[in-house]
Amino acid sequence: MDFTIITPEIFIYLLKGAGMSLFIAAIATTMGLILGTLGAAAKLSRSRFLNFIASVYVEVFRGTPMMMQITFAFLALPALVTLILGKPIRFNPLVTGIAAISINSGAYTTELIRSGINGVDKGQFEAADTLGLTYRQKMKLVILPQAFKQILPPMVSEFITLIKDSSLLSTIGVVELMKSATTVGANYYAYLPPLTVASGIYLVLTLVISAISKVIERRLAVSD
């Protein structure tokens, strides 16, 4: 149990891994937000076909483990693409991993945004209608700003979840915080120090982010 192996260099190496974890989570949350907005729009649209597509998307990606989705994307999908293209192809682990997490997050975000919009009082829609606002103006000026306030807290916890879930990408060779820690452990035949420090970094990240979101929530609450 020799924590002296965590030299400043090693610590910076772990921090770089943490940077990668944050990067993965940030991109995946953003992509998930875009996919979730599209998914929610499809779920709330009048088109039965779009409703169906969005439901299948949500159910499939919420109903299977993220670990399976990541592994599937990295190991099974290339085989499928190779079969179709007729020549061997290999996927970049980082890109594939971020794509898999984004698509998974999009499924959860679809439901978050849909329930956020449904949570806005029906009278707000009607008032906008009677004032002659177009659908687009109604959504942009009235509904989405109100839905956003409800969506923000669960979106932040989605971001925090993704910081933790990004550790799954260590299994396909992406060097994020988890992978950095196990690499250090393997090099020094001592896992306790690097895993403890890495856990501490995860914890600091998630605590800081939820503290920031509390401040934002309080600011948004002025109209309540």
């Binding site: 009278g123 009677t130 004032l131 002659g132 000026l141 109100q146």
Partner: protein, 242 residues
């Protein structure tokens, strides 16, 4: 000005909320719809305002039929109407001033400054110019409803539709809202009012229509409805509420 012809509306294919409702509203006329809860008064008003689509019937505005199939066109045709809800429905994410300017700016293309001047004029009229920068949640029910009326007036409507404007208010706030409506009556505004305030309806209306189970059973001057009608259902109802 507004001609409603044979309006029919059935909910969930079962409840017949409105049956063969016809009504012609002249310019400057104040019409009250009264009747027991669930009689279809609000549904009539919501059909006129486009919040419900009637199954059958026509609504003519200045001689032109509202096209129910074309949402965009129907919205344009309805810009002459202002609607006031039972539950006010002020936009909770906007200040009072913004509530009043959002439609003039975005729908009528007014400049922000022009819309604000107009908004302040109407806020003054409902006695709430000092609340311009507050959020709706900081106002009392009566104040919110007065803001809602001012918001509708900012769109310069030719007819105002009131859907039970005082039913959600505490008794001591009803008067301030009725005073604002009374003020509009004196201005000659055309109005259709759904209300449970019988004395108010009697005082301000040119005609009162009595509805029950989706049907209009009687229509006439306040004096006729309150004193002369032979219709037993109307008499029973008025006996109970007065």
């Amino acid at each position: 000005m507004i001609d409603i012809i044979d309006l029919n509306k059935t909910f969930n294919n079962k409840v017949e909320a409105v049956k063969d409702f016809s009504l012609k509203v002249e310019k400057g006329e104040v019409i009250s719809l009264i009747g027991p809860s669930g009689s279809g008064k609000s549904t009539v008003l919501r059909c006129i305002a486009g919040l419900e689509t009637p199954d059958k019937g026509k609504i003519l505005i200045n001689g032109q039929a509202i096209n129910f199939r074309n949402e965009k066109l129907a919205r344009k045709q309805r810009t002459i109407m202002g609607f006031v809800f039972q539950h006010f429905n002020l936009f909770s994410n906007m200040t009072v001033l913004k509530n009043l300017t959002v439609a003039p700016v975005n729908v009528q293309g007014k400049s922000e400054q022009e819309a604000e001047e107009l908004a302040m004029k109407y806020l003054k009229r409902v006695g709430l110019e000092d609340k311009a920068d507050e959020f709706p949640s900081k106002l009392s029910g009566g104040q919110q409803q007065r803001v809602a009326i001012a918001r509708a007036l900012c769109m310069n409507p030719e007819i105002m539709l009131f859907d039970e404007p005082t039913s959600a208010l505490d008794p001591e706030m009803i008067k301030e809202v009725l005073n604002v409506i009374r003020d509009l009556v004196e201005d000659g505004m055309t109005m259709i009012i759904v209300s449970h305030e019988m004395n108010f309806a009697r005082e301000v209306s040119d005609r009162i229509a009595f509805l029950e189970n989706g049907k209009m059973l009687e229509i006439g001057t306040p004096d006729y409805i309150f004193n002369q009608t032979e219709n037993q259902r109307v008499k029973d109802f008025l006996d109970k509420v007065l």
